[in-house]
């Protein structure tokens, strides 16, 4: 795209400081590809253009999606189109540098730890436009009734105890990581205003094996076009967008039958991917729970996320019975535990916990590893679950995962953020036997937390074993997870010796009883075989990378055996990893050896909803100092040197003040936009009412007593209030079997069944709660007065018959 075309679209990035047009080294990023129920095969086109007088080297840093690997790229320009080669890190870097030295156009895509990739393109000639089309294999967040797909258009600035971060120009922040741990990775500049950066967009196909009920995006305006059954195409509704958040796409299917995808790869080998809905394993029996909630209160959680997370935890506590025990750990760069050990979920402890949560303010850094260790300490030597609510914005995740794994506890993660923590939290959850869900700050964090909590009680299946039968050879890799939780399907990848028909035999234990499930498996020619092979490879590489520490450039620390395994896996599947990179060199006429290119790093936008001041300028340290109070306005921080004059204090203060106000404004905007988005998702109620209803449901759930009933002064009042609560949950789509508040409905129903007061209304409401049969109405507004029984009787008999 040339400058004239940019003007045609009405997009001319202008520098706010100089008023002149900004020369963007990267002009555009465009995402295409296919989203399948078991993963996505993507093509990302990066368009670079040099406006420099000298040869240009561009470095674009981006984060990988979950379970992702780079396959190859093609670099294209006027008169050339060259594909990448897969080489070991050293060989790739050598080829790239030799290409630069010889004056050739060279490109390299190298993955570092934490899923950060540097795409370097060197020796772009003045005025030249070059595009790099990168193929990426990525996982998806599979649900029983669909999936959530995330693709990072920006990289989240993240916390590390040894990272250096500062506002280098007004509204522009930089982070530098310690080289001894992170190698030569280069991070982008983070711009508080992304409007003048490169444009992003997408055009994707969704291919599901069953009818698609709904496709939506909580992150971007989308245009969808339905195709044949199970296929849809969606694209960005606007001409362009800015790189300040992940693309998030939700796909809901008409039923939850799962999927079996199979075919042959390019070598003729059979490949399959199977999704088994959790409902296929039956329902989990109830048992006393031990759970510690770990709440991230770092500065980047400030605003709506921390407010909603606090309320969500109160609602989760209300779903616990008096036999259950719980703990709470809040953390930023320090950890604070509610109690030193697990406590009974009785009313007294719940009230104390609510008071503890009320005092939590979001500020400072993210010492997640220490928080998980503190949670493990609360469990002493007992087993149990950790439910982690975090934005996951941390660097150095391998050691965090190692530490979490060593506790032997399952970590279930709710990733809260508009950018890029999915790669880490997916690994953290999987490697500890937990599940992972993600939510953007503009969705309901509280409802998502309650939904996750309802899923992670006792697993629906444990100790799984899977066998491939009916083929000469057949296997499943990676090994099946140890446990399956409600709402999250079992995903299996595997291979067979070739085409044919056979079956998958899945065996598991539940309540010490052995159970079995058989699924037919038909492997025909072609199909999705090659794509499945690549998705399987990406997943295997992601799993293995977690076991190989410090690969990049640190031979003394690297485990050579592990690196060799990673290299072999990369070669087997033809995918890049932390041990293998992609490189291409383009030899053209007129190349001039020895010219040193000028290096430019592509800036990205601060993730939407993360205040710039949470990381830069009036950042972490000053926020910690101020305690979130009045001192924020009077504190400033800068670095000066013995041997140099410090910067003028006044100018620095203005700069910091600006970033601080930006942060405050950002928070208010986030809250406002959350409300607006919820208004947009309103179905039956008016816009504002829908928001209030969600908030009211969380508050209603939080009032449930340890015996499962609603509070009241008499037995009759409590039963009546519980009946009304069940009706309210039912009216909003929550029954004993489905909906985020199903655990709460289950507890209310158990209370009603055990109550001395039994009548037709109570019995009918219990039946409806089990059947998921709602009675429309605003039940929570009604007063639990005995005179209401007659009205309820009438409503249940007549209004309940309405379609």
């Amino acid at each position: 795209m040339n400058a004239l075309e940019i003007r045609t679209y009405g997009f001319i990035p202008i520098s706010a400081e100089t008023g002149r047009e900004i020369k963007l080294a990267m002009q555009r990023l465009w995402l295409t590809g296919r989203i399948l129920p078991v993963g996505a095969r993507l093509l990302v086109r990066h368009t670079f253009r040099s406006e420099e007088k000298k040869p240009l080297e561009v470095i674009y840093a981006f984060g990988l999606p979950r379970d992702a690997a780079l396959r190859r790229f093609r670099i294209t320009g006027e008169g050339f189109s060259v594909s990448s080669d897969l080489k070991t890190i050293d060989k790739a870097a050598e080829a790239y540098e030799k290409g630069i030295e010889d004056g050739h156009l060279a490109a390299m895509a190298r993955q570092y730890q934490d899923g950060v990739v540097n795409l370097s393109v060197g020796n772009i000639r003045p005025g030249e436009e070059v595009s790099v089309l990168l193929e990426v294999l990525a996982g998806v967040e599979a649900h029983d009734d669909g999936l959530r797909f995330r693709f990072p258009f920006t990289l989240a600035p993240s916390y590390h105890s040894r990272a250096r971060m500062a506002e280098v120009r007004p509204g522009v922040g930089e982070i530098e990581l310690p080289g001894d741990e992170f190698g030569d990775v280069i991070l982008p500049q983070f711009a508080s205003d992304a409007s003048s950066l490169h444009g992003v967009g997408f055009d994707l196909t969704v291919a599901m094996p069953v009818e698609i009920k709904e496709i939506s995006s909580p992150s971007h305006p989308v245009r969808t076009v339905s195709g044949s059954a199970g296929r849809s195409r969606l694209s960005l509704a606007a001409a362009r967008d800015v790189p300040d958040r992940d693309l998030v796409i939700d796909v809901r299917t008409a039923d939850s039958k799962g999927a079996v995808l199979a075919g042959t790869d390019t070598q003729g080998k059979g490949r399959f991917a199977v999704l088994v809905p959790s409902a296929s394993f039956g329902e989990a029996a109830e048992e006393a729970r031990r759970i510690v909630f770990v709440l991230d209160r770092s500065g980047s959680m400030n605003g709506a996320p921390i407010t909603q997370a606090r309320k969500a935890l109160e609602a989760c506590l209300a779903a616990l019975s008096a036999e259950d025990r719980f703990g709470i750990v809040a953390f930023n760069d320090t950890t604070e535990a509610f109690k030193g050990d697990l406590v009974a979920a009785d009313m007294k402890n719940r009230e104390k916990a609510a008071a503890f949560l009320d005092k939590i303010q979001a500020r400072s850094g993210t010492e997640l590893a220490a928080a998980l260790q503190a949670a493990a300490k609360i469990f002493a030597r007992e087993s149990g679950d950790i439910m982690l609510l975090t934005d996951g914005q941390v660097f150095g995740v391998d050691s965090i995962i190692d530490g979490a794994r060593s506790t032997g506890l399952s970590v279930h993660c709710l990733g809260i953020g508009s950018a890029g923590q999915d790669h880490f939290l997916t690994r953290l959850a999987r490697e500890t036997g937990g599940v992972n869900r993600s939510v953007t700050p503009r969705e309901r964090v509280d409802t998502a937390a309650v939904e996750l909590f309802a899923s992670i009680g006792r697993p629906v299946a444990s100790d799984l074993e899977v066998k491939v039968e009916g083929f000469k050879d057949g296997s499943v890799a990676p090994a099946p997870p140890n446990r399956v939780f409600a709402g999250t399907p079992l995903l299996l990848f595997g291979e067979t010796s070739g085409q044919g028909e056979g079956r998958l035999r899945i065996e598991w234990s539940e309540q010490r009883k052995n159970r079995r499930l058989e699924l037919p498996l038909a492997v025909g020619p072609g199909g999705e075989g090659e794509t499945i092979r690549l998705l399987q490879g990406a997943r295997l590489i992601t799993d293995l990378e977690g076991q190989v520490e410090a690969v990049e450039g640190q031979g003394k620390r690297a485990e050579k055996g592990g690196i060799r395994m990673l290299e072999n896996l990369s070669r087997t599947y033809g995918l890049a990893s932390r041990a293998m990179a992609l490189v291409a060199v383009v030899e053209q006429k007129g190349d001039r050896p020895g010219d040193l290119p000028v290096t430019r790093v592509v800036p990205v936008g601060m993730p939407q909803d993360v205040g710039f001041g949470a990381y830069f300028g009036m950042g972490i340290d000053a926020m910690a100092l101020s305690g979130g109070g009045l001192l924020r306005e009077t504190l400033s921080r800068h670095i000066c040197y013995d041997a140099a004059m410090p910067e003028p204090r006044e100018s620095r203060r203005r700069m910091i003040g600006k970033s601080f106000f930006g942060e405050v404004r950002g928070d208010l905007d986030a809250l406002k936009k959350t409300t607006e988005l919820d208004k947009g998702s309103s179905r039956r109620q008016g816009a504002g009412e829908r928001v209030d209803l969600q908030t009211e449901l969380v508050a209603l759930a939080a009032r449930i007593q340890p015996d499962g009933g609603m509070p009241g002064e008499t037995e009759e009042e409590r039963v009546l209030a519980s009946v009304l609560a069940v009706l309210q949950f039912l009216a909003e789509g929550h029954s004993t079997r489905s909906g985020a508040f199903r655990k709460h409905v289950q507890r209310l129903v158990a209370f009603l069944e055990a109550a001395k007061l039994q009548n037709d209304v109570v019995r009918e409401v219990v039946k409806r709660a089990r059947d998921g049969n709602p009675v429309p109405g605003d039940w929570s507004k009604k007063k639990a007065d005995p005179s209401l029984w007659a009205d309820l009787e009438q409503a249940l008999q007549f209004r309940g018959q309405q379609p």
Partner: protein, 138 residues
């Protein structure tokens, strides 16, 4: 004869990747090569500067901070026995008339404790200031 290196040799000698060296040159914290073109060469000053950058980074400085330090050749011409080595400090203006300087190379745990203590100090000053204002008004 003055020792000279190619970019690759300089990278090997300094332990800093070639791409990173180009990045430093573009940022203006490292001088361009002694000669351009095919015979591009780097000298001892380049190597010394790369080591200096690494040392300064280890002491908590960012590249943007290093770029603001005096030019290396100026530092070299100054009498080295009287010029102290540069050190990074963090300045906390805890009130309009009070600034506290803290060495920035502190270990993270130590820095946290210092910041915590400073927070208490700043709160107390704020409170005193408020009380003083109230008394004055009364």
């Amino acid at each position: 004869m003055t020792k000279e290196w190619t970019l690759r040799e300089l990278a090997a000698e300094s332990g800093v990747a070639e791409r990173t060296i180009r990045f430093y040159i573009s940022k203006g914290i490292l001088d361009p090569p002694l000669r351009g073109g095919r015979g591009a060469a780097y000298g001892r000053d380049h190597l010394a500067r790369l080591r200096e950058i690494r040392n300064l980074q280890a002491r908590g400085l960012m590249l943007a901070d290093i770029a603001r330090l005096p030019e290396p050749h100026l530092a070299e011409s100054a009498p080295t026995d009287t010029l102290p080595a540069p050190a990074a400090w963090e300045s906390y203006a805890v009130a309009d008339d009070v600034i506290v300087l803290v060495r920035s190379e502190s270990a993270p745990w130590r820095a946290r404790r210092i910041r915590s203590a400073l927070g208490e100090f700043a709160s107390r000053i704020q409170k005193n200031q408020q009380e003083g204002d109230d008394n004055e008004r009364a």
